[in-house]
């Protein structure tokens, strides 16, 4: 569960990125975060990952107040939150398999667990046959699905996707959305920031619209809006 209570963030240059935000997202929800560039979507994601701290308010993730976490506790917060980015952020010199396994090595999983878990996750995102290829040999959609696999391989309860289809053409974008939907059906809370109007409209999920640092709209089964 994610809960933001009266959260405000002003950057040092005086830009008010978020103004008194209140959001509550239950376990297993699929939520779109929409709004124009610079409206505060990225700031919100950075706050959830504790890359930055809010000036005011509390952020509660799975019952823990993130704003009160110590620096050395941050890794353990992040192990519970998978992230994918618009630019995939894969390691080019590692194969698909190694990229996913890397995420498990980082959290110090045993080699046995890694050998068992990685193929399961790769088949979930439909990349079993490409596990020995390098990212440069894959399409954008496939690369994004590798990055999805990496984000969920450690079994996080929350998946944050920051414009995951931003670099993809419509067809491959839908492959990624299918995988995201699949992941959500397995019980993972998904929070996806996006500009893709057609996807938001077609999926009929909860939509939170942010404009000028405030919540403009929060629809249970919404569309992108204007």
């Amino acid at each position: 569960m994610i809960e933001l209570v009266n959260v405000s963030k002003t950057f040092s240059d005086g830009h008010k990125a978020l103004k008194n935000i209140n959001i509550k997202i239950d376990n297993g929800e699929f939520v779109f975060l929409v709004g124009p560039s610079g409206a505060g979507k990225s700031t919100l994601i950075k706050l959830l990952l504790k890359e930055i701290d809010p000036d005011q308010g509390n952020i509660i993730i799975n019952g823990k107040d993130v704003t009160k976490l110590k620096r050395r506790e941050i890794p353990y917060l992040r192990r519970n939150i998978g992230v994918v980015f618009q630019d995939f952020r894969l390691l080019q010199e590692k194969t698909v398999y190694e990229n996913v396994a890397f995420a498990m090595e980082v959290v110090e999983a045993s080699p046995k667990e890694i050998r068992r878990q990685v193929p399961i996750i790769l088949s979930l995102v439909g990349l079993s046959k490409k596990s020995n290829l390098y990212p440069s040999q894959l399409s954008g959609g496939e690369q994004q699905r590798v990055s999805l696999a990496r984000a969920i391989v450690n079994g996080p309860s929350i998946l944050i996707a920051d414009e995951p289809t931003g670099n993809l053409d419509p067809d491959t974008a839908w492959e990624v959305m299918k995988s995201l939907n699949e992941i959500n059906h397995r019980g993972t809370t998904v929070l996806m920031a996006t500009h893709a109007k057609d996807i938001v409209d077609a999926m009929r999920k909860r939509v939170i619209a942010i404009e000028n640092g405030t919540i403009a709209r929060d629809d249970k089964k919404g569309g992108y809006g204007i």
Binding site: L49, E51, R72, P75, R89, V106
Partner: protein, 276 residues
């Protein structure tokens, strides 16, 4: 790249090592000379044995005096002529009319007590004069002090410089892998998990650099010490610190410096990249 940083650590440690050897030898020399500091007490001519015995007792009773040995004027003349060796003929004919005086050689527990003891002896009766290598001793103590402080400052500066060099070299490796580090941090790697490999790299660079510099310095010192011993034996009162002892101190301190430089350098270079 790592070769360059091993080279720079080595160079820094080489200079640090030279200063270390210098300090070790000056300390060695100072300790040796300090233990040799003695006060010479010349007595008035023609004193009876009883009076000489009393003076001796009085000197021995002073605090800080370790020993007090009587040297008769005949013995002094003999020693003098022996010290002249082939030129001892210069003193021929003086046996009957010895110009030297009876004296005491006073050794001290602490060379710094010399001025105080000298004053005390001067105050006694039947003393002609009292001498000790006052200026030489004070100069030596001054020199050792300045050398120690000076070397400490220079070693500290060199350590800082080499930490800076190492951190810059490792920064290149870190920079080349900054994407990977960023990804690791997002996945939930602890700081130490990210640091680990760079830390090891730094320690290894430091260790290799220090081993090479120890090898070079030890070899150099071995030959210099041997040369000094062979060529200058007899000409110098002083001698260099034995090779084994220098090697021991050098190995311990340079290895420690190498590890400290390497680990500190890597810590500094990665700090910025951990803040994600």
């Amino acid at each position: 790249m790592s070769l360059a940083s091993i080279g720079s650590v080595m160079a820094a440690l080489l200079v640090i090592g030279i200063f270390l050897i210098l300090v070790l030898n000056v300390d060695y020399l100072a300790a040796k000379l300090e233990s040799q500091v003695e006060i010479k007490v010349h007595l008035v001519d023609g004193l009876s044995d009883t009076i000489i015995g009393e003076i001796r007792k009085e000197i021995k009773g002073l605090s800080g005096v370790k020993d007090c040995v009587f040297v008769s004027k005949d013995k002094a003349l003999k020693d003098f002529s022996e010290s002249l060796g082939e030129n001892s003929y210069l003193l021929e004919g003086l046996e009957g009319d010895n110009p030297l005086s009876d004296s005491f050689v006073v050794t001290l527990e602490d060379p710094r007590l010399a001025p105080q003891v000298t004053l005390a002896i001067k105050a006694m009766s039947n003393i002609e004069n009292v001498v000790y290598g006052k200026e030489e001793l004070e100069k030596l103590l001054d020199v050792t002090y300045f050398l120690r402080v000076g070397s400490l400052v220079i070693v500290a500066i060199l350590l800082l410089i080499s930490v800076f060099i190492i951190s810059n070299t490792i920064k290149l490796t870190v920079y080349a892998r900054r994407r990977e580090i960023g990804i690791m941090k997002y996945i939930g790697a602890t700081d130490w998990f990210v640091r680990g490999p760079f830390f090891l790299e730094g320690v290894l660079l430091g260790l290799i650099g220090s081993i090479i510099s120890i090898g070079l310095l030890a070899t150099g010192y071995y030959y210099i010490a041997r040369y000094v011993e062979q060529q200058m034996f007899g000409l110098l009162v002083i001698s260099l610190m034995p090779f084994q002892e220098v090697l021991k101190s050098l190995t311990v301190s340079l290895l420690a410096f190498g590890v400290v430089i390497g680990s500190l350098g890597s810590m500094i270079s990665i700090r910025k990249f951990l803040k994600v």
